[in-house]
C-alpha cells in the first residue's frame, strides 16, 4: 500500500488549501506571483484529480479511494471520505474548472488579488470535500463552508449591486441548510440507539434500510398505521425529514420556485464566481438529492415524486420562458441554468437507469457549457462593461474567433447532437418517457428543446448578428491568446464528451444502478431486498492505530467506548 492508495483523495481535496497557505504567505502586492502560485496549485490539483478519476474502477466497489480515520468519536463522527461514480465525475469537473477559473480572472480582478485567490483555493477545497465526504456531519460542514468563500466572491468582487445579491444568496441557501441540519440531527437520533449512534453515511443508511423496506411493504397493502419502532417513526416523520433535505437541496439546484437567488447572484458575481456557481455549486443540490435525500427516504420520495417532478418540469419550461423575457445576457444564461437543472432533477426523479445516468451526465455538461458561456461573456463584459443585449449587435464582424467559440458553446447548450449536451438531454428525456411518471412529463420537458433553441439563438442573434449598431463596439479586440487558451479546453470537451461519452458513462452507470435500486426500495410493495442495497464501506481503523501509537491509557482517563 503506497501513500497514494490511501491518501489520493485527501491530496486532491487539500492541495488547494496547501497552496492557499502558500499564497497567504506571499505579500499582497505580488499579484503575478499570487496568480501563478494559485494557477500552479489548481493545475497540480487537476493532475491528481485526473489520476483519481482514472484510478476509479467502474466495476469496482461502490466507494473507492476511501480513507477513514477517527475523529470526534464521542459524537459518532469519523473522518471518512471516498468517491462513487457520481462523486468522482463531479470531482473531475471541479478540478477541471479550477485552473480555468484562475486564468479567466487574470485581468478581471484587479483589487484585493490575494484575498480573491485565497477564496478561490479555499472554495475549491470545500467543494471537493463536500463531494467526497462519507460522513453526514462532515458533509454538512463542507456544505456550509462553501457559502463563505462564495459569499465573498460575489460580495467583494461583484458588480454594482453585489451586496444585495451576496446577502440574498447567503440567507436563501442558509435557510434551507439549517432545516437540513435539524433533519440530520433528527436522523442521527432516529437511526440508532444510544451508544451506537453514528453520523457515518453508510451506518445511517444501513440502519434505515430495514425500516424503509417495512414501510414500502405496508404501503403496498395499505395499512401503515400499526408500524412500530423505527419504521413507525420513519413513516410518521420521514416525509418531513425528506422535505427538509429536499428544501435545502432544491434551493441549491435551484428548483422552481426557490430559484430567485440565482439570477441575482449570477448577474452580480465576477466571472470566476459565475463559473464556479454554475459549474459546480448548483450540482451540489442534485448531488444531495442523489446521495442523501432520496436513498435515506425512498418511501417519502415516492410520495412526493409527482410533486417534485412537476416542479422540475415547470423549471424547464418556466426557466426557458424567463430567458425570452430578459434583456440582460447574464440573467438569460442564469435562467437557462434553471431550465437545464430542471432536466437534471427530472432525470433523477424518473428513477430509471437512463434518466439518472442522463441526469448525471447533464450535470457535467451543464458545468462545461454554462461555465463556458459565463466565461465567454465575462471576456466581453471586461471589454464593454455592459450586460444588456441592446448594447451589442453585429459584433461578429469585429470578433470572429470569439463569435465562433460562442456559437459552438451555444450549440452545446441547445443540445445539438454531436455535442455533449445532446447525450445528457436525450438520456434524461428517454428516462422520463420510460419512467412511471407518465408521458405528459416527458412531452412537456421535451418542449424545452424548442424553447432552448429559441432563446439561445435569439440572444446570439441580438449580440452577434445584424449590422454593427454601436460605435463603441467597433474597436473591440478579439480573444487574446490567454483567453483563447482558456476557452479551448471547453471547446475540446464539448466535442469529446459529445462523441465519446461512454468512458464517462461507464463510471456513472454502476452508481446509477445502485441509486435506482435504492430509490425503488421505497416503491409501494417493492420487492427490492434489503441485502441488495446495503452499503459496505471501510470500517473504522482500530483505536490507537491512527492517532495514538502507544498503549491505551488506564484509570479514569481510559478509553470507555
Amino acid at each position: 500500500m503506497s501513500f497514494f492508495d490511501t491518501h489520493l483523495l485527501n491530496l486532491v481535496v487539500y492541495l488547494p488549501l496547501l497552496f492557499a497557505a502558500l499564497v497567504w504567505m506571499l505579500p499582497g502586492a505580488e499579484r503575478g506571483q499570487i496568480r501563478t502560485v494559485t494557477f500552479i496549485g489548481m493545475l497540480v490539483d487537476l493532475v491528481f484529480g485526473v489520476w483519481a478519476y482514472l484510478r476509479f474502477e467502474p466495476g469496482g466497489p461502490e466507494f473507492q479511494l476511501e480513507y477513514r480515520t477517527r475523529w470526534l468519536e464521542q459524537l459518532g463522527v469519523s473522518y471518512h471520505i471516498g468517491a462513487d461514480g457520481l462523486a468522482i465525475s463531479l470531482l473531475l469537473l471541479t478540478v477541471f474548472l479550477g485552473p480555468l477559473v484562475v486564468m479567466a480572472s487574470q485581468t478581471y480582478i484587479t483589487e484585493r488579488v490575494k484575498e480573491f485567490h485565497l477564496s478561490l483555493l479555499v472554495l475549491q477545497t470545500v467543494m471537493l470535500g463536500a463531494l467526497v465526504s462519507l460522513d453526514v456531519l462532515l458533509f454538512y460542514i463542507f456544505w456550509e463552508a462553501m457559502l463563505i468563500p462564495m459569499y465573498l466572491l460575489v460580495g467583494v468582487w461583484g458588480a454594482e449591486d453585489r451586496q444585495m445579491a451576496a446577502v440574498k444568496f447567503f440567507l436563501y441557501t442558509l435557510a434551507g441548510s439549517l432545516l437540513m441540519l435539524v433533519a440530520i440531527v433528527a436522523l442521527y437520533f432516529i437511526s440508532s440507539t444510544p451508544g451506537n449512534r453514528s453520523f457515518d453515511y453508510a451506518t445511517i443508511y444501513n440502519s434505515l434500510v430495514a425500516a424503509n423496506s417495512q414501510i414500502s411493504t405496508c404501503m403496498g397493502t395499505g395499512d401503515c398505521e400499526r408500524l412500530t419502532g423505527m419504521a413507525g417513526i420513519l413513516y410518521r416523520w420521514g416525509p418531513w425529514l425528506f422535505a427538509a433535505f429536499a428544501l435545502a437541496f432544491a434551493i441549491k439546484v435551484p428548483m422552481w420556485p426557490v430559484h430567485t437567488w440565482l439570477p441575482d447572484a449570477h448577474v452580480q458575481a465576477p466571472v470566476a464566481g459565475s463559473m464556479i456557481l454554475a459549474g459546480v455549486m448548483l450540482k451540489m443540490g442534485t448531488f444531495g438529492f442523489w446521495r442523501y435525500a432520496i436513498p435515506f427516504f425512498p418511501s417519502a420520495t415516492h410520495q412526493l415524486r409527482p410533486f417534485l417532478a412537476t416542479l422540475a418540469v415547470i423549471g424547464i419550461v418556466y426557466g426557458a420562458l424567463m430567458c425570452l423575457a430578459q434583456r440582460d445576457i447574464k440573467k438569460l444564461i442564469a435562467y437557462s441554468s434553471v431550465s437545464h437543472l430542471g432536466y437534471c432533477m427530472l432525470g433523477i426523479l424518473a428513477l430509471t437507469a437512463e434518466g439518472a445516468t442522463g441526469s448525471a451526465y447533464q450535470m457535467l455538461n451543464h458545468g462545461v457549457s454554462t461555465g463556458a458561456l459565463f466565461l465567454l461573456f465575462g471576456f466581453l463584459y471586461e471589454r464593454r462593461h455592459t450586460r444588456l443585449m441592446s448594447d451589442y449587435g453585429g459584433i461578429a464582424k469585429v470578433v470572429p474567433v470569439y463569435t465562433a467559440s460562442f456559437l459552438i458553446i451555444t450549440f452545446s447548450s441547445v443540445a445539438v447532437p454531436g455535442t455533449n449536451g445532446f447525450v445528457g438531454e436525450f438520456l434524461v428525456l428517454l428516462g422520463t418517457f420510460k419512467s412511471s411518471l407518465g408521458l405528459a412529463f416527458g412531452v412537456l420537458a421535451t418542449l424545452g428543446v424548442i424553447l432552448g433553441a429559441a432563446y439561445m439563438l435569439w440572444m446570439v442573434q441580438k449580440v452577434f448578428f445584424g449590422p454593427l449598431t454601436h460605435r463603441e463596439n467597433q474597436g473591440l479586440s478579439d480573444l487574446s491568446l490567454r483567453e483563447f487558451a482558456t476557452v479551448l479546453p471547453f471547446l475540446i470537451l464539448v466535442l469529446v464528451m459529445g462523441l465519446m461519452p461512454q468512458p464517462f458513462l461507464d463510471r456513472i452507470n454502476p452508481s446509477t444502478e445502485r441509486f435506482v435500486t435504492r430509490a425503488n426500495l421505497g416503491a409501494p410493495g417493492s420487492r427490492v431486498q434489503a441485502s441488495d442495497v446495503r452499503i459496505s464501506v471501510m470500517g473504522l481503523p482500530p483505536a490507537g492505530l491512527a492517532a495514538v501509537p502507544h498503549s491505551p491509557t488506564t484509570g479514569p482517563l481510559a478509553d470507555r467506548r
Binding site: 424567463m322 428517454l430 416527458g442
Partner: protein, 741 residues
C-alpha cells in the same frame, strides 16, 4: 469498355472504411474553418472541392460494392437481429456511442441501394455545387467560412443517410439543420437574413421535438414487443421461430432498440389483426405494462409515425412547418440549390422510405402523410403563382415538389418517391444554379419582372434552365415526366384499407398540382428569358458566367434528361410484367414493406405499368398549364399593359403574394403569445410574486418584527423585573388552577 468494367469491379470499398466518406468533408470543414484565412482563397477552394470529390469517389466505390456490375459479386451482410442476411447491403459497426440501462446506440453505418443512391446524389451534386460556388463566391470576403459550412453540411447529410439507427440519423438530421442555419444567415450583417436563419432552426426544432418523442415511443414499443412477443410472431420473420426470437434479443443487446435492422424485424413480426396472431402480438394487442399500458401497439405506432411526420414536416418544409423554406432563400444561391432543394429538404422522404416497413403497418399514418403532402403541394403551388422573386418561386416550387414526394410516400409508392427525389435533385439544382447564374450576370437582380430577354445574352444558362424547366413541368421525354407520373400512377392504383377514397381524390389533386407546376414554371421561364429586356433592369446587358458556373449547369441538365432511364420498364419483374429500373433496383430496400403489404392487412400495393393513355393524360395536363402561362404572359398581359387590373384580381393577387398570411397567423397565434406570456410571467410571477412578495416579504416581516420587539428591550432593570414578577405570578396562578382541578 471491358477494361473499364474490370477496373470498376475492383473498386469496392471495404466496409470498415465507410467512415471516411463522412470524415473527409468534416476534415475539410475543420481546415477551411480554422485555417481558411491563412491558407488563402485558392487553397480553400481546392480543399473544399477535393474533400467532396474524394467523398464522391468513395461513394462510387461503396455504391459499386452494393450494386456490382456482375450479379455474382452481390454483397450481403449479416443481420444482427435475424438469421437471414441482408442482401445488397453492407455496413460496419464502430462500437458503442452511448449505452446505459437497456438502451444503447452504436456508431453503425449502413449502405444499401437506398442510401447508396442518395450518397451519389449528395456527393455528386454537392461537388458540382462546390465547383459552382468557387466562382459564385469569388467576390466574397467570407469564402473560408462559406466553404467550411458547406463541407460541414455535406458531412452531416452523409451521416444522415449512412446512419443505421434512428439516433445517429438524428445527428445528421440536426447537423444539417445547424449547417443550414449557418448558411442561411451567412450574410449575417443583414438582420433579416440572420433572422431567417434563426427562423429555420427554430421551426426545424419544432419538428425535432416531435422526432425525439417519436423515437422515445419507438423505444417503448420495441421493449414492449420484446417482452410480449412469442414465437407466433417470429414465424413471420423467417427461419426457425425460436432461433429468430433469440437472435432478435441478442440484436437488441448488441445494437440497441433504435437500429433500423431491428425495427425491420419488429415490423415483420407484427401481426395485423388479433385473429391472425395465434397468441402472438398484433397491432390490436394492448401493451401490458409500462407508461403505455393498455394502449394498442397499432395505436402507439400510428402516433409515433404521425410525430415522425411532424418531424419530417419541419425538415422537408411541409405544412404546417414549411414557412421557413421561402425565407431560407436569404442564403447564397448555391446553398439554396444544395440544401434547400437537392438534399436536406428531402430528408423527410428518406426517413419514411427508410422506415417504409413501419409505415405500411398504419394506413392512418400513411393517409395523413399523403394528405399533408397534397395540402402542402397545392398551397405552395398557388403561392408560387404570384411571387416575383425568382428564388422565391423556385423555393415554393421545391415545397410543392416535396409535397408530391410525400404524396407518393404516403400512398406507398416508395420507389417512385425516391426516384422523384433524385430527378428533382438534378433539375431543381439546375434551376437554382441557373437562377444564381442569372443573378450573377444581372447585378444580383432577383425580380423576374425586372429581367426578361436574358436568353440572348446568357445562352448556356438559358438552354440549361429551359431543359430543367421542361423536366419539372413534366414534358416527354424528360425525367421529371416519368418520375412524377410514376408517383401519380401509384397513388391512383395503391389502396389503403379504410381510406379507399384517398386514391382517387389525391390522384386528381395531383393532376391539378401538375398543371399548376407547369403554369408557374413557364411563367418564371418566360418572364426571365423570353421577351424583351425590362427597362427596369439594373444593368443594360447581362453577361454569361464563367465555366465553373456553367459546367455544373450542363452536367445537371444532362442528368435531368438521362435520369429518365430509371423510370423505364426494362427489368423483368414479378409475374412476367416488366418493372421500372428504379423499382427493381430499390426492390431489396422495400422488400419488407412489400411482404407486410402482401399479407393484405393494411395496404394493397400495385405494380402495374402506366398505359399510354395515362402518359397522354399527364402530358396534356402539363401542356395545358404551360400553354395557359404562355398565353397569359406572352399575349394577355402584354396586350393589356397600362390598364389597371380589376379589383378582385388585385385582392386575390395580394392575398397570394402575401403567402395567404400564414406567417402573420403564426406570429399572431404562437410567437406573440409565447413572448407575452414570458414577459408577464417574468414580471408577475418571478419578480413580483416570488421575489418581492415571498422572498423580500420574508425579510420585511423579519425586520418589522425585529423593530417592533425592539421597543421591549428598554434596558430598564425595573421594567424587566416587573415583567418577570408578572410572569412568575401568572405561572403560579396557572399551577394553582391545575392543581385545584
Amino acid at each position: 469498355m471491358e477494361a473499364l468494367k474490370q477496373v470498376l469491379l475492383q473498386l469496392r470499398l471495404d466496409p470498415a472504411a465507410l467512415w471516411l466518406i463522412i470524415a473527409l468533408p468534416l476534415v475539410g470543414a475543420f481546415i477551411c474553418g480554422v485555417f481558411g484565412r491563412m491558407l488563402g482563397r485558392a487553397n480553400v477552394y481546392l480543399i473544399a472541392c477535393a474533400t467532396v470529390a474524394g467523398s464522391f469517389l468513395l461513394s462510387v466505390s461503396a455504391f459499386l460494392a452494393v450494386s456490382p456490375l456482375e450479379s455474382s459479386q452481390a454483397v450481403s451482410m449479416e443481420n444482427a437481429f435475424s438469421t437471414s442476411a441482408i442482401r445488397y447491403a453492407f455496413g460496419y459497426d464502430y462500437g458503442t456511442w452511448f449505452s446505459t440501462g437497456t438502451f444503447r446506440v452504436n456508431f453503425g453505418l449502413l449502405v444499401d441501394h437506398l442510401s447508396g443512391t442518395l450518397l451519389l446524389v449528395i456527393t455528386g451534386v454537392g461537388f458540382l455545387i462546390h465547383l459552382y460556388s468557387t466562382s459564385y463566391m469569388s467576390h466574397d470576403e467570407g469564402y473560408w467560412r462559406y466553404f467550411a459550412y458547406l463541407n460541414l453540411f455535406v458531412a452531416a447529410m452523409l451521416s444522415l443517410v449512412l446512419a443505421d439507427n434512428l439516433v445517429l440519423l438524428f445527428v445528421g438530421w440536426e447537423g444539417v439543420g445547424m449547417a443550414s442555419y449557418l448558411l442561411i444567415g451567412f450574410w449575417y450583417s443583414d438582420t433579416a437574413k440572420a433572422w431567417a436563419g434563426r427562423k429555420a432552426f427554430v421551426t426545424n426544432r419544432i419538428g425535432d421535438f416531435a422526432f425525439l418523442i417519436a423515437t422515445f415511443l419507438i423505444v417503448l414499443l420495441v421493449s414492449a414487443f420484446n417482452s410480449q412477443s412469442n414465437t407466433a410472431n417470429f414465424t413471420l420473420v423467417g427461419g426457425n421461430p425460436e432461433t429468430a426470437q433469440v437472435r432478435y434479443r441478442e440484436g437488441l443487446q448488441m445494437k440497441g432498440p433504435v437500429a433500423f435492422q431491428g425495427l425491420e424485424v419488429f415490423a415483420n413480426g407484427m401481426h395485423g389483426t388479433a385473429e391472425k396472431a395465434q397468441g402472438g402480438v398484433s397491432l390490436e394487442t394492448p401493451i401490458a405494462e409500462g407508461p403505455l399500458k393498455d394502449r394498442t401497439f397499432g395505436g402507439v405506432l400510428t402516433v409515433a409515425l404521425l410525430l415522425f411526420l411532424l418531424g419530417a414536416a419541419g425538415k422537408s418544409a411541409q405544412f404546417p412547418l414549411y414557412v421557413w423554406l421561402p425565407d431560407a432563400m436569404a442564403g447564397p444561391t448555391p446553398v439554396s440549390a444544395l440544401i434547400h432543394a437537392a438534399t436536406m429538404v428531402t430528408a423527410g422522404v428518406y426517413l419514411f422510405s427508410r422506415m417504409s416497413y413501419l409505415l405500411v403497418l398504419s394506413p392512418t399514418a400513411m393517409v395523413t402523410v399523403a394528405i399533408i403532402g397534397t395540402i402542402t403541394s397545392l398551397l405552395a403551388a398557388l403561392i408560387a403563382f404570384a411571387q416575383d422573386d425568382i428564388k422565391k418561386v423556385l423555393a415554393y416550387s421545391t415545397v410543392s415538389q416535396l409535397g408530391i414526394m410525400f404524396m407518393g410516400v404516403g400512398m406507398g409508392i416508395f420507389w417512385a418517391a425516391v426516384l422523384h427525389l433524385v430527378t428533382h435533385a438534378f433539375f431543381k439544382a439546375c434551376l437554382f444554379l441557373g437562377a444564381g447564374s442569372v443573378m450573377h450576370g444581372n447585378a444580383d437582380e432577383t425580380d423576374i419582372k425586372k429581367l426578361g430577354g436574358v436568353r440572348h445574352e446568357m445562352k448556356q444558362t438559358w438552354f440549361t434552365f429551359m431543359v430543367a424547366t421542361l423536366a419539372i413541368t413534366g414534358i416527354v421525354p424528360l425525367s421529371g415526366f416519368f418520375s412524377k407520373d410514376a408517383i401519380f400512377h401509384g397513388i391512383h392504383h395503391n389502396h389503403l384499407h379504410g381510406y379507399e377514397w384517398a386514391s382517387g381524390a389525391i390522384y386528381y389533386m395531383g393532376l391539378l398540382i401538375a398543371a399548376c407546376t407547369a403554369f408557374y414554371m413557364s411563367r418564371v421561364y418566360l418572364l426571365t428569358f423570353e421577351g424583351k429586356r425590362s427597362p427596369e433592369a439594373k444593368i443594360p446587358h447581362a453577361h454569361e458566367s464563367d465555366w465553373r458556373m456553367t459546367a455544373p449547369l450542363w452536367v445537371l441538365a444532362t442528368l435531368s434528361v438521362v435520369a429518365l432511364f430509371y423510370a423505364l420498364p426494362l427489368m423483368p419483374g414479378r409475374g412476367g410484367v416488366m418493372q421500372p429500373v428504379m423499382e427493381n433496383f430499390l426492390g431489396p430496400v422495400f422488400s419488407s414493406a412489400e411482404r407486410i403489404a402482401s399479407r393484405g392487412g393494411q395496404v394493397a400495393l400495385d405494380h402495374s405499368i402506366p398505359s399510354l393513355f395515362d402518359y397522354l393524360k399527364a402530358w396534356v395536363v402539363a401542356l395545358t398549364g404551360g400553354a395557359a402561362a404562355a398565353f397569359m404572359y406572352l399575349k394577355f398581359f402584354p396586350a393589356r399593359a397600362g390598364q389597371p387590373a380589376p379589383a378582385f384580381a388585385r385582392s386575390v393577387r395580394r392575398f397570394t403574394q402575401n403567402k395567404f398570411y400564414v406567417d402573420e397567423a403564426y406570429e399572431f397565434l404562437v410567437i406573440r403569445p409565447v413572448k407575452n406570456v414570458s414577459a408577464i410571467l417574468y414580471k408577475l410571477v418571478d419578480t413580483l410574486l416570488i421575489d418581492t412578495v415571498a422572498v423580500r416579504g420574508t425579510a420585511w416581516v423579519t425586520t418589522r418584527v425585529g423593530s417592533a420587539l425592539r421597543y421591549v428591550q428598554t434596558g430598564d432593570a425595573q421594567a424587566y423585573a416587573a415583567v418577570m414578577a408578572l410572569a412568575l405570578l401568572g405561572g403560579a396562578v396557572y399551577a394553582l388552577i391545575q392543581v385545584l382541578k
